[in-house]
């Protein structure tokens, strides 16, 4: 287990380094590069800008600038927002928990439903249910998430008036019920795609296990259908799901961004779009880097979980 995890950790560190390179390249791609803030300020002469550039060390070779930037990234100095001058990391963390709440809720809901549907489809392969679930998942994956959000708002907020159309709370109402009511629509929208993904993967994974010899052995032992399914089939079919959960993180994060924009959910995705709108590049870059780091950490966590739950990896 140690060797396996150290190997994965080493790989992640290399990937993280490459991620930072890509991030730095994008930063220099911004109009005006890291100086964009000043380039946009009226009344700023070319000479002024050059002076500031020298002050900020932008006249140094790119490679030095990169390591300087990386160094500051590593110690948590992610720059200040152009908008209000506050530290980037502070602003992001303020918005982070709303995103995590939304993602967490949606993950929980969609994993339970998706895995249930996937198992049922695999066990009743080619049944009407399986057919509908497969086709339904495919269509769900094809619906633009933001548009589904609009439809949900139109139906449940505007037409039926059951649920609020956006934001996280009603002003002046801090109750848990109010939070939950605001959480329902974004979760629904974000979960549509996730349920589809989970059910497809779980179906495929279960089908693979169904054909294996040890399932036949389990049945030959005379175990009940339920025990064979849960203890032998599902237990094994879930293993690849852990890795997949890690690999799906970017998709889930992207989906959260979309859901947040449609429902004015005050999370990281919303902040990201606002910051793009204000050309607040430090915050934009901060979120970009943070989400990549988040994804890599998620993958590492998945590897760790696999190492814990799969005895074949554990001792390898």
């Amino acid at each position: 287990m140690g060797r396996y995890l150290i190997g994965r950790l080493g790989q992640s560190i290399i990937v993280l380094f490459l991620v930072s390179l890509i991030g730095f390249m994008i930063l220099n791609l911004a109009p005006g590069g890291p100086l964009s803030q000043f380039a946009l300020t009226p009344g700023m002469s070319q000479a002024d800008i050059q002076r500031i550039a020298a002050q900020m060390g932008l006249d140094r070779p790119l490679i030095i600038q990169y390591f300087d930037w990386l160094g500051r990234l590593l110690v948590g100095d992610w720059g200040d927002s152009f908008r209000d001058g506050r530290p980037v990391l502070e602003i992001i963390i303020e918005h982070l928990w709303a995103t995590l709440l939304l993602m967490g809720t949606s993950m929980a809901v969609s994993i339970v439903i998706g895995i249930g549907v996937g198992i049922a489809g695999a066990v009743r392969r080619y049944s009407v249910f399986d057919y509908l679930a497969t086709v339904g998942a495919m269509v769900a994956l094809s619906i633009p998430t933001f548009w589904f959000g609009l439809v949900a708002i139109y139906l449940f907020a505007l037409q039926l008036d059951w649920l609020p159309a956006g934001s996280m709370t009603t002003i002046g109402d801090g109750s848990v019920v109010d939070y939950l009511r605001h959480l329902i629509l974004p979760t629904l929208v974000l979960s549509l795609v996730n349920v589809a993904i989970w059910s497809r993967y779980m179906r495929a994974s279960t089908l693979e296990v169904l054909d294996q010899d040890f399932v036949r052995t389990a049945r030959a032992k005379g175990l009940s259908r339920y025990r064979v399914l849960v203890h032998h089939i599902v237990r094994n079919a879930l293993l690849p799901m852990i890795t997949l959960a890690g690999l799906q993180l970017p998709t889930i994060l992207g989906g959260a961004l979309v859901a947040e924009t449609v429902f004015t959910w005050p999370g990281m995705g919303r902040l990201f779009l606002d910051s793009i709108g204000y050309s607040d590049y430090p915050v934009v870059m901060g979120i970009l880097m943070l989400s990549a780091i988040f994804v890599l950490l998620g993958n590492l966590l998945a590897d760790l979980l696999v190492a814990i739950t799969d005895p074949r990896v554990r001792l390898a």
Binding site: I26, L141, W147, Y154, G254
Partner: protein, 296 residues
Amino acid sequence: MTTMTAAGDAAHTRHHWWQHRTLSRFLRHRLAATGLAIILMLTLACLLGPHLLPYDELTVDLRARFSPPLTQDHYLGTDPLGRDIAARLLMAGRISLLVGFSVMLISTVFGTLIGVVAGYFRGWVGSVLMRIVDAFLAFPSIFLVLVLSAFVEPSPFMITVIIALTCWMEIARIVEAEILSLRERDFTIAARLSGASARWIMFRELVPNAMGPIIVAATLTIANAILLEAYISFLGYGIQPPLPSWGNMLNSAQQYLADAPWLAIVPGITITLAVSSFNFIGDGLRDALDSRSNLP
């Protein structure tokens, strides 16, 4: 069972022996066939439709603002500027489908290139390339597309390039895995022993044999690209008005959702239809091209 394994290494015959069997399997996959029919019809409509409709997509008619569908000749209604939605939808289709196809072409060529090189040379070349792939995959593609499209002049060409930049990694991964297994097969080893150059082996021996998975991934890439384009255009960072795209038609839809729901419904359903068609085609191709699946 034993009698069937003989087909094992036949995959390298380049005479596309599978072609007609693949086609019939594919057509028997009813949803895929339906998807293909829908895409063909949609493409045809986008190409010919605008010439047949009474309005063009740019004519503003402030007296006819917010006409619901089926008012007079506005079969799908009008938008907040009184422009004909049917005409805009079909013109938008040209852009959105074109972006989808172009992204597919660019990212498939690029992803295949990276994948083949990584898979063929393995070693540190392969490792570095695949770690770069991993690094790109770590960014949620929507975030990357939004940042880049905010940075550049959003012409349809740049939008295409940007979306392609976030779509090639999946193909690179698939191709690399495929090449890793193909390079150990007899026909590759034979080619190497007979002194064929690396380039010859990669592009004349390996890539043709990895074509099945590449085609499937390419089809799914179109679906993905259309969704990405729609989203960034919806947010205003993609295709810029007055040029219509399915995404930017939804631009004002949220604002007028209560009074003019058709603004949202018409383009949304069209996108869903197009994207699911490509997804079903990809699924059908997977079944048809995968020699392991024993579809009737």
